[in-house]
């Protein structure tokens, strides 16, 4: 039972990070139909921002804030520079554009910063272990769970209680009509990217805090997982993205815990296969958005 509880917490922490990333992808996808491959690079940018802020001697909290500001700015800038020229194009065009942007950014990181991982000096107070009864919980893990929950709650409040949030939800239902209501498309899309950037930033900080270093490919793997999480939840559905993220986290942690030693290296392959197997039965994803097709 204790082991199970311990694994549950591990899954919450890992799944939470996937959920934040998948949510960031879904916010953008639901509004402009873009699957943003460069989402991972937003994570990486955040990592570098924190890294350099700490090297310049900023205190950790300021560095975190700086990292988030950079993430949001980078996301908005990315939309303005790279994605606005193809707005309204087919999903394929958008997908390929972001694929290219992502690859170019990685090469830039390699050349301008470094191809090697740079260590990030995370305060030692964060690397402790809290023991509650039989459970051992890393401080960072605990923080990561709390931060994830706070972010999800905050986003939920924003989407339901504020004017801008309601506009975002409306845009994800029907962007064309929302524009007819006099909302400005540019500001809605920019807000979507800002939120997406913020979520990627938070996920990036949690990731860096757990691994202690940044490299140009840092964001690639987690975002790959987030893609999978987003389709399993139902592309474009915000709650689906969160559910998919946690589900994938759970699957990975359970496989990690219970796969025989000889099969452990195959963990990711099994996880993705399981998830795609779900699609056999629910091709639209678990919490698919109800799209009403007018025939």
């Amino acid at each position: 039972m204790d082991i199970f509880l311990q694994q549950l917490l591990n899954a919450l922490s890992l799944g939470g990070t996937y959920a934040l990333l998948a949510l960031g992808l879904a916010v953008v996808f639901s509004i402009i139909g873009l699957i943003n491959f460069a989402h991972g690079e937003l994570m990486t940018v955040t990592g570098y921002a924190i890294c350099f802020a700490l090297i310049w001697g900023l205190p950790f909290p300021l560095a975190v804030i700086g990292g988030l500001v950079v993430a949001v700015a980078a996301a908005v800038l990315m939309e303005r520079v790279a994605f606005r020229p193809v707005r309204g194009a087919s999903g394929t065009t958008l997908l390929l554009t972001s694929f290219a942007v992502s690859a170019i950014l990685r090469v830039l990181f390699q050349n301008v910063i470094s191809a090697r991982p740079i260590p990030v000096s995370i305060p030692t107070s964060l690397s402790g272990v809290i023991t509650i009864g039989p459970l051992h919980l890393g401080t960072i893990q605990l923080i990561s769970i709390i931060v994830t929950l706070v972010m999800l709650l905050g986003l939920n409040l924003f989407l339901h209680r504020t004017m801008a949030g309601r506009a975002m939800r409306a845009a994800s239902e029907d962007f064309a009509v929302l524009r007819l209501m006099g909302m400005r498309a540019n500001s809605i899309v920019a807000t979507a990217f800002a939120i997406s950037g913020l979520l990627a930033g938070v996920a990036g900080i949690l990731w860096v805090a757990q691994r202690g270093s940044v490299d140009p490919l840092m964001g690639a793997l987690p975002v790959l997982k987030a893609f999978i999480a987003a389709i399993i939840g139902g592309l474009g559905s915000l709650s689906g993205a969160v559910a998919g993220g946690f589900l994938l986290g759970f699957i990975e942690v359970i496989l990690q815990a219970y796969l025989p030693e000889s099969l452990l290296p195959y963990r990711d392959a099994f996880a993705i296969l399981l998830v795609i197997g779900v699609l056999l039965f629910r091709p639209q994803g678990l919490l698919a958005r109800k799209t009403i097709i007018k025939l």
Binding site: L96, P265, L295
Partner: protein, 597 residues
């Protein structure tokens, strides 16, 4: 047996000639380094064509084909590896594999590898084929990761992330050329075949494709496996070209490179794959020379890692921003150079109509959560007559149409089409059982020609040895559009688009035709022309027409029998005269007080 048209033969020849010429020039006249580049080009062409077969026809971008190359490469390498190397580099090979591994010839390696590729493609294709659009793309990305992780993890068989070496290098231009030529032929024939055409139709409009009898899931599956085999063959060639490789050689960098080749030429054509690959291979070779920091006109350039990646990325962006259909556009080179001759119309033998031609709606009801959209509607559409379905907004007309065509099954009651309950067969089978339909918002296969639009439907019901293109032409004749056969559907004026939809539905040789607001948005002249066409269809084909329309004048002029819905219930049924005089109908349309006055 796939349809091998003259056009596919012409197309194969047009693309094969430059490849053959290149091979000859490379082997006989070029220095070794350039000859190697030519070989590499032929290998990449094969791989990109594999992607094109799936992505080009289905419209789903694939990230997975580098994974097929990896499977092909490792599969063949294991079979052909030098036995001396095998025993030292892979001492822990499982015994079942050790029996067949090592020492085989390249053709055996190719065959074995393709067997593995085909099997894996089929297994993964089962869930994948059910997905469309972005979700399918991400699933192919998942496939790439699965293959990569598995190769890295299977240390006993693949040496994990370490280099796999000792593979006999036996691939030069001469070996790569025939494989590339086969790839071109397969892709070009598939594109024009019944399966390829119907998949391209589904790419343009999945719903309309299903309504034209296309089994979209099956066609996606076939294209995925076929494309996988072709890319797998390219992987085999690459393995024997390089002699040593590791899993990372078949991961994102390769995917990115293949993608740029496909995109630059244009994803929809085989010509694009052949042309785009050539340009990218040359560009990458030039950039690679600069990468190490070259000396250009006395200027010492700095060393830049990944210059090729930036180049490839910029090409993709440029294409996306400026030239979305790629350099070769939507039509093959041969289709531009040698347009196909006009197809002669030949009306197919009338369907040996079953004795029971009937479309009856029996007690159909539909609830959405608490809302009753339709309640206990019963009537029959009679062959050779025009039945009109009218009703104010929200009367339940669309719900009824969806129930009849099997898209949204009724929650109570049945729709019996020639004896079949339409709720019990897949949506794409309903048209084959005798129901053609058109859509309220026009749904054409926009980037296909007028003839191709109709051929998709004719193919779905064609009997063996029947020329479905001639049948399609005959359907076009009915609506008076045979002169427009070669035009892209998207270039037609509005009225013609509506008539094309009718021709497409007619090509299904239906016993019943469901027309959803056929006159919406038409001007009076177009409406008159439509009425002529519909009357002729009724007279010539003995088809039962069910027309849903807001235009009451049209309904009154055209229909023999009218059904009126209001608030989900059938409130009247009868001849136009009956309906005109029916107080319940007048009340539903005009309101109670006015009606009384």
């Amino acid at each position: 047996m796939p349809r091998i048209g003259m056009q596919a033969v012409k197309g194969t020849v047009v693309l094969a000639l430059p490849l053959i010429a290149l091979a000859i020039v490379a082997e006989l006249f070029l220095p070794a380094a350039l000859a190697r580049l030519a070989t590499l080009y032929l290998i990449y062409v094969t791989a990109v064509i594999g992607m094109q077969i799936y992505s080009g026809n289905s419209g789903i971008i694939s990230f997975g084909h580098a994974g097929f190359m990896a499977l092909g490469a490792y599969g063949s390498a294991l079979l052909t590896i030098q036995p001396a190397v095998l025993s030292t580099s892979l001492p822990d090979l499982p015994s079942w594999l050790a029996v067949i591994a090592g020492g085989q010839t390249l053709p055996v390696g190719m065959l074995g590898a393709l067997l593995v590729v085909g099997l894996v493609a089929a297994l993964f294709g089962l869930p994948l084929a059910r997905l469309g659009g972005a979700a399918a793309s991400i699933a192919t990305l998942g496939f790439l990761v699965i293959v990569h992780v598995t190769l890295v993890a299977s240390v006993d068989i693949t040496r994990g992330s370490q280099t796999f070496f000792g593979v006999p290098r036996g691939v030069s231009t001469w070996e790569a050329l025939p494989v590339a030529l086969v790839a071109v032929a397969v892709a070009r024939i598939y594109r024009g075949s019944k399966g390829g055409l119907s998949l391209r139709a589904a790419r343009e409009d999945e719903i309309a494709a299903r309504a034209s009898g296309v089994n979209v899931v099956r066609q996606r599956f076939i294209a995925w496996v076929l494309g996988g085999l072709v890319s797998g063959a390219a992987g085999v060639l690459l393995a024997h070209f390089l002699g040593a490789f590791s899993p990372k050689d078949f991961y994102f960098n390769l995917t990115f490179l293949l993608m740029s080749m496909l995109i630059l030429g244009g994803i929809s054509t085989v010509s694009g794959a052949v042309g785009g690959t050539a340009l990218i291979v040359v560009m990458v070779d030039l950039l690679r020379r600069l990468e190490g920091g070259a000396d250009v006109f006395g200027l010492q350039l700095p060393q830049v890692f990944g210059l090729t990646d930036i180049g490839v990325g910029v090409v993709i962006l440029a294409v996306m921003y400026r030239l979305r259909d790629g350099l070769f556009g939507l039509r093959e080179v041969d289709e531009r150079l040698f347009p196909e001759p006009v197809v002669k119309a030949a009306r197919p033998d009338p369907s040996n109509a079953s004795d029971q031609i009937s479309l009856s709606i029996k007690g159909v009801g539909r609830r959405f959560a608490g809302l009753v959209a339709l309640e206990d509607v019963s009537f029959a559409v009679r062959p050779g007559l025009v039945t009109g379905l009218i009703g104010p907004n929200g009367a339940g007309k669309s719900t009824l149409i969806n129930a009849i065509s099997g898209v949204v099954p009724p929650s109570s009651g049945h729709v019996l089409l020639n004896g079949t309950d339409t709720a019990l067969v897949p949506v794409h089978e309903v048209p084959m059982r005798g129901l053609g339909r058109t859509f309220q918002n026009i749904r054409l296969f926009r980037n296909l020609t007028v003839l191709e639009n109709v051929t998709v439907a004719a193919d779905a019901v064609a009997r063996p040895n029947e020329d479905s293109r001639a049948a399609a032409m005959a359907a076009l004749e009915v609506v008076g559009m045979q002169e427009l056969a070669a035009r892209p559907a998207s270039s037609l004026p509005y009225g013609a688009q509506r008539r094309l939809e009718i021709a497409r539905a007619l090509a299904l040789r239906p016993s019943f035709l469901l027309l959803d607001e056929p006159a919406a948005g038409m001007n009076p002249a177009e409406t008159d022309a439509l009425i002529v066409v519909l009357r002729q269809i009724r007279a010539d084909h003995r088809i039962g027409l069910l027309v849903v329309e807001h235009d009451l004048k049209l309904i009154m002029r055209l229909c023999d029998h009218i059904v009126v819905l209001n608030k989900g219930q059938m409130i009247a049924e009868g001849t136009p005269e009956d309906i005109r005089a029916n107080p319940a109908v007048i009340e539903a349309y005009i309101g109670k007080r006015r009606a009384a006055a």
